[in-house]
């Protein structure tokens, strides 16, 4: 039996696949959401893949029937039939992928030696008789104490309630899940203890199912946060809750239901039941964290933006309404402040920038962008109101990263080349596309470093008193509607740019560093993973460092949540990170306005003594 590495394009996700395992099974484990209507029988032909490199097994009769000789020659195969015979690079067809909106799940896989909070013990009890009438629970604790030397004293009430009939059903043989000195779950032997890690974002929720003993990820899945129907940003959601307590409960229930669905979907992918999950970790921004826990959020929206509770919490899953093992806990890692949540702590935990000798900037770009500067053990953090432009918001033809969004763009002398998500006909432009557009317009001289559209370009036209640049001309697109970037869109992007670059600059300045001293810039999160770094540097969103100084780490918050899930040591580290972090409020910095104005320019520059020094 051999394991091969399979690289799934266009996601770039890499996974291990046994030589006896189908590509479909491997893709499924990754949470890539490959459609297979027939359930992997080789009958429906929906799971087509194309081999870019590497060798797969010989085509099966179903494949020969489903695919023409030419298609087979071009490397087309069925994922449910093919097994690998070497490391492979494969392309998944857009129509074979079930995810309609892109949710970024992949983070760098970090190997953490498991030090799980919950351990499972195999127990063989002696049945009671008239001469041994010891109570069932006492009997169980006694074996744990004597056989495993576990000083276990407590049993979760819910476990107690079902203990007697269950243990008789299992003929006095069972597996006890123990957390600290408490029995939190009982099951038949042998059950693999599972853990659930969740990154609860404002827009998307990423869930991961892990084997607590090995630390291995068994399944992962991304879903849209259903609270989105109550407003896309956190402030709108806070307003709902302030209006009436019922709304708060409703928002909470939406997320709880979604998390339960996610847990059971993940478990079915791994062939388990949700009650096999004996521990969960949830990270998220402060508002998501508070809403899930039912904590008050009003004070988060007003100066001085204080959290209700920032310490790490261990709360029974059933108190939150999450249906996993009866006595399981959810661990909530600490948060830093009103604007910097446990997702940022988890990100810092996973990138381990404190090991780098020298200053590192780590940021997660969103409507609210959190930025940390680490220098060894010292961490300084801030957050900036970067606005929704990079998520396609406030942009005339902006959209989220979904099918048909322009995600890459290049302007050459005579044409505009673009790439859309799922290679579908263009319907709008998402954050990474908008950033490319800004960079390309600037590099092509269509906008100046102040961001003003030149009226001399043939694709610039006036609509009312507003200039706009025609990205997709209906004439070139069979009469499909035009896609433009307006002068106002450019202003929105400049504001987002300026907010983030100001944050980076002031963090460095308050800590006595310059951008040239940076050893690394770590960019986490969905937007940060898809952006073209050279565009980000060209427009001045990121400092002008060589591109190999930047690390795009994907969903690092999800990775950090996984680490905290399987390792008590990592939880301690997360506590240390949160308590060592100094939060600075940008608006209080006397240089804020001046820096903001300077950084609203486009181009490669450094800020020296409050002034821009243009490079090249």
């Amino acid at each position: 039996m051999t394991d091969y590495i399979i690289d799934f394009e266009p996601t770039g996700w890499k996974g291990k696949c046994r030589d006896s395992e189908s590509i479909l099974a491997c893709a499924r484990r990754s949470g890539l959401g490959v459609i297979s209507v027939c359930g992997g029988q080789g009958a429906c032909h929906t799971c087509r893949i194309q081999v870019l490199s590497g060798i797969l097994s010989e085509p099966t009769p179903s494949e020969i029937e489903a695919l023409s000789p030419q298609e087979l020659a071009q490397g087309w195969r069925l994922a449910c039939q093919a097994t690998p015979a070497s490391n492979c690079q494969l392309v998944l067809l857009p129509e074979s992928m079930s995810t309609s909106q892109r949710v970024y799940l992949e983070g760098l896989e970090v190997i953490v030696p498991p030090e799980p909070p919950v351990k499972a013990y195999h127990l063989q009890l002696t049945a009671p008789c008239l001469s041994d009438q010891k109570a069932d629970a006492n009997r169980l604790l006694e074996v744990l104490n004597e056989q495993y030397l576990i000083p276990c004293r407590k049993i979760d009430t819910r476990v107690l309630r079902s203990l007697s009939p269950q243990i008789r059903g299992w003929n006095w043989e069972c597996q006890a899940s123990v957390r600290g000195d408490e029995v939190i779950a009982l099951g038949p032997c042998p059950t693999r203890p599972l853990g659930l890690a969740v990154d609860l974002g404002t827009t998307t929720i990423a869930g991961y199912l892990l084997d607590l003993n090995s630390g291995q990820t068994l399944a992962s899945q991304g879903v849209i946060n259903p609270q989105i129907s109550y407003g896309e940003d956190i402030i709108t959601r806070i307003n709902y809750v302030i209006k009436s307590p019922h709304e708060g409960i409703r928002l909470q229930k939406l997320v709880v239901d979604k998390l339960n669905e996610l847990a059971s979907d993940l478990c079915s992918k791994a062939g388990a039941n949700a009650d096999a999950i004996v521990e969960a970790v949830v990270v998220g921004n402060t508002v998501m964290h508070h809403l899930l826990l039912g904590l008050p959020v009003r004070q988060l929206a007003l100066t001085p933006f204080t959290a209700a509770a920032s310490l790490a919490l261990d709360i029974k899953a059933y108190e939150v309404g999450i249906n996993i093992a009866p006595g399981a806990y959810i661990h909530f890692p600490p948060i830093i402040g009103g604007f910097v949540g446990s997702d940022h702590v988890a990100m810092l935990l996973s990138i381990d920038s404190r090991q780098v000798d020298g200053p590192v900037i780590a940021l997660d770009i969103g409507t609210n962008t959190e930025i940390s500067l680490t220098n060894g053990e010292e961490i300084t953090t801030t957050s900036c109101a970067s606005g929704p432009a990079f998520e396609g918001g406030h942009i005339k033809h902006g959209m989220r990263a979904a099918k048909g969004a322009i995600e890459r763009l290049q302007i050459t002398k005579d044409a505009i080349h673009y790439q859309t998500i799922d290679e579908a006909p263009p319907v709008g432009i998402c954050g990474s596309g908008a950033l490319d557009a800004l960079a390309q317009l600037y590099l092509a001289g269509v906008i100046d470093n102040g961001g003003r559209l030149s009226h001399n370009h043939p694709r610039v036209r006036m609509k009312g008193n507003q200039a706009e640049f025609l990205l997709v001309d209906p004439k070139e697109q069979d009469g499909r509607s035009a896609i433009v970037i307006t002068q106002k869109d450019i202003r929105e992007l400049q504001l987002a740019n300026a907010a983030i670059r100001t944050g980076i600059h002031l963090l460095l300045e308050t800590s006595g560093f310059t951008e040239e001293q940076l050893r690394q810039v770590v960019i986490a999160g969905a937007f940060g993973s898809y952006i073209d770094l050279s565009s980000a540097v060209a427009v001045g969103l990121l400092p002008p460092l060589p591109l190999n100084y930047f690390r795009q780490v994907g969903n690092a918050a999800g990775t950090g949540a996984k680490m905290a899930l399987v390792s008590l040591g990592k939880r301690e580290e997360a506590r240390a990170i949160a308590s060592q972090t100094r939060y600075i409020e940008l608006a209080c910095n006397p240089d804020f306005k001046q820096t903001f104005i300077e950084t609203s320019h486009i181009g490669r520059y450094r800020i020296k003594h409050g002034k821009r020094e243009v490079l090249d």
């Binding site: 709108t236 007003l302 100066t303």
Partner: protein, 209 residues
Amino acid sequence: MSGELTKAIAELEENEALRLTKEKLERGEDPRLILDESRSGMEIVGKRFSEGTYFLPELIFSAEIFREITEIVKPRLKKDASPKRLGKVIIGTVAGDIHDIGKDIVVFMLDVSGFEIFDLGVDVPPKKFVEKIRETNAPVVGLSGFLTLAFDSMKETVGAIKAAGLRDKVKIMIGGGQIDEEIRKYTGADDYGKDAMAAVSLAKTWLRG
């Protein structure tokens, strides 16, 4: 001939604007007219800013040009003929909010439009607005706020002005985030503005009437 200076400022042609100012002074033109003409230029800058044609750096740059012109013209202004002011306006970001970029643009536009501005800064408690109204007798108050919860602070501030018996003496405008008629009603303000130019035209209407 008149309009050249306005145009130079609107186009952000610093050297040209300063040259024209000096030329006009040498020709013995009324310094007050020069300032008026400069203000018209600044109004065009404001309009272009609100349309998106100009951006923050241009706004700052135009203010710099305007400041230089004022410096040149100032010595020629007679003491009694100090630049005529349209009226007093008190402005501040309400309690609980600290956003001031938008508010500063409004201050800037009101200032170049000829108003005398009392800027109370950010996170301003209702009491401070009341005190300033008493002190200056300003007939116009502008409340700024970006956070949605600032709407409550605006309402409280309007309430405090009313409780102090000053509500009939001032016109109150609000602005900031996503403000509409619904929010205006909620806060009890007289009117609202979507951008800095709207604030200027509101203040002008009120002070004329």
